[in-house]
Symmetry: C2
Subunit: 275 residues, 2 copies
């Protein structure tokens, strides 16, 4: 039995998300027991409850030795507001767990990885179950939570790797949550940003990636239409800024806000959430 606690450090999910993920577990992973923290369904303005409630829920999930992993319910925005406080109060049980999510939850994954707490991994979240082909993505996360490496990002190699939403990585730089990425392959993805904004994000991020092994580009989806075409595509932009910064561009990755999203354990992949 693998016990997985689910909380929402950023924005809330609805009960139908929990029901749909629960049905997937029942059908495909009877060895997993999911526990949705009630905070997942709380609401306070933009967030899944006030900072204090989200922090408490995250710590209850992380610090409880009966859970093998913490799965973040959804991104959106807000995990950065509580990530540092959570990390400072994590106990020994928290250090033995897997942590799975992506998008805004990259703030927590980054901070955990910086402090070498547990096994942070980038991968699909419960909220993804509601999208078309989302259940297949969620099943990949469940397989990792159950201890499998079947759905790791197919291009992972012998070099330590991380994956981030590009905007999240940009906002991490210089903060107390930013990990040392020297020697790492860095995968970035983006959603719902104009290409000019993606160009600006690359300009910024490459200045903070000196010494990395290289950069791979995940999916860039839901780019809004601008009043005029940018003039180059997302991969051209990634190549351009890698070239300017002297960072090896290593090609595409199956990571992003789309159903092809796979699992990227931070560092060197070694076993699933329970490794």
């Amino acid at each position: 039995m693998t016990r997985v606690a689910i909380c929402a450090p950023a924005t809330p999910i609805t009960r139908d998300v929990a029901d749909a993920v629960g049905a997937l577990v029942t059908a495909h992973f009877p060895e997993i027991r999911l526990v949705f923290h009630e905070q997942c369904f709380a609401s306070d303005g933009h967030f899944a409850g006030p900072d204090a409630a989200r922090l408490t829920a995250l710590l209850e999930c992380a610090n409880d030795s009966s859970f093998d992993a913490v799965w973040f319910a959804r991104g959106g925005y807000g995990s950065n507001r509580i990530a540092r406080a959570a990390i400072e109060r994590m106990n020994d049980a928290a250090r033995r767990k897997g942590y799975l999510g992506f998008s805004d939850c990259g703030f927590i994954l980054g901070g955990l990885y910086r402090e070498r707490i547990g096994r942070p991994a980038h991968g699909p979240m419960p909220v993804n179950v509601l999208s078309e082909e989302g259940p297949a993505a969620v099943l990949r996360s469940l397989s990792w939570l159950a201890g499998s490496e079947d759905w790791l990002e197919p291009g992972l190699d012998g070099r330590p790797t991380v994956a981030f939403n590009l905007m999240t990585l940009s906002a991490l730089t210089g903060t107390s949550l930013m990990p040392d990425l020297t020697g790492h392959v860095v995968i970035v993805e983006e959603v719902a940003e104009h290409l000019y904004a993606i160009d600006r994000l690359f300009f910024h991020v490459v200045a903070h990636l000196r010494g990395v092994a290289g950069l791979r580009l995940g999916t860039v989806t839901a780019v809004p239409e601008n009043d005029r075409p940018f003039g180059s595509e997302a991969e051209d932009i990634a190549r351009y800024w890698c070239d300017r910064a002297g960072i090896p561009y290593l090609g595409r990755a199956r990571v992003g806000h789309d159903p092809s999203n796979t699992i990227v354990p931070f560092g060197l992949a070694a076993g699933g959430a329970r490794a």
Copy 2:
């Protein structure tokens, strides 16, 4: 006679902008001679011509000793792509000029200030003339270009000050364009960003503002409607992050993407563009 060269390091303007600004000069500042570089009207995808053309135009304006100041025609996005290369090729004439603009052109202003080149200042641009009440804003810039200090931001005090678009400042951090802001009053403004994105920008920026004298908030305009209210307003967000970072919050400023925008000379205000 004050001779002002205008170029467009980011996105282009149309001829009617040049005509309208020219009419203001004729009517109110006959002692100013404006020279719109032809590159202002060029177009290449998102930009006012390719990087090489924008770089060349900026250098032709900056390095020509017959010009007293360079005025940036418009922001948008793109000055970051050429700012470092421009700064590295600037000559002695460039070091004696004023440079005026804001928004995306903050990348150049930041880089100039970092290298102590000329007199960079944050203020209205030619493109603003087309908006309602825009001519009044453009007249403030013309007065500064003519050597006046009548339209400096009214809260400037004995401490060195800079002003930036918040997104631009976030993207500057850690790059070779970022100036040392120790001891400075930092004014930030934002336009057309969701409040959650503004919260994220403050989270990021305050980590890079250790040692500043304080922060002031310009206008935050054209905030898009979100699917739910954020739960606090822009000034609450600024206060919150200043408080978390131990940065004195010093109140509002007349700076931003609206017609009340005034002039903020970087550093200590001392004379106009020709000081």
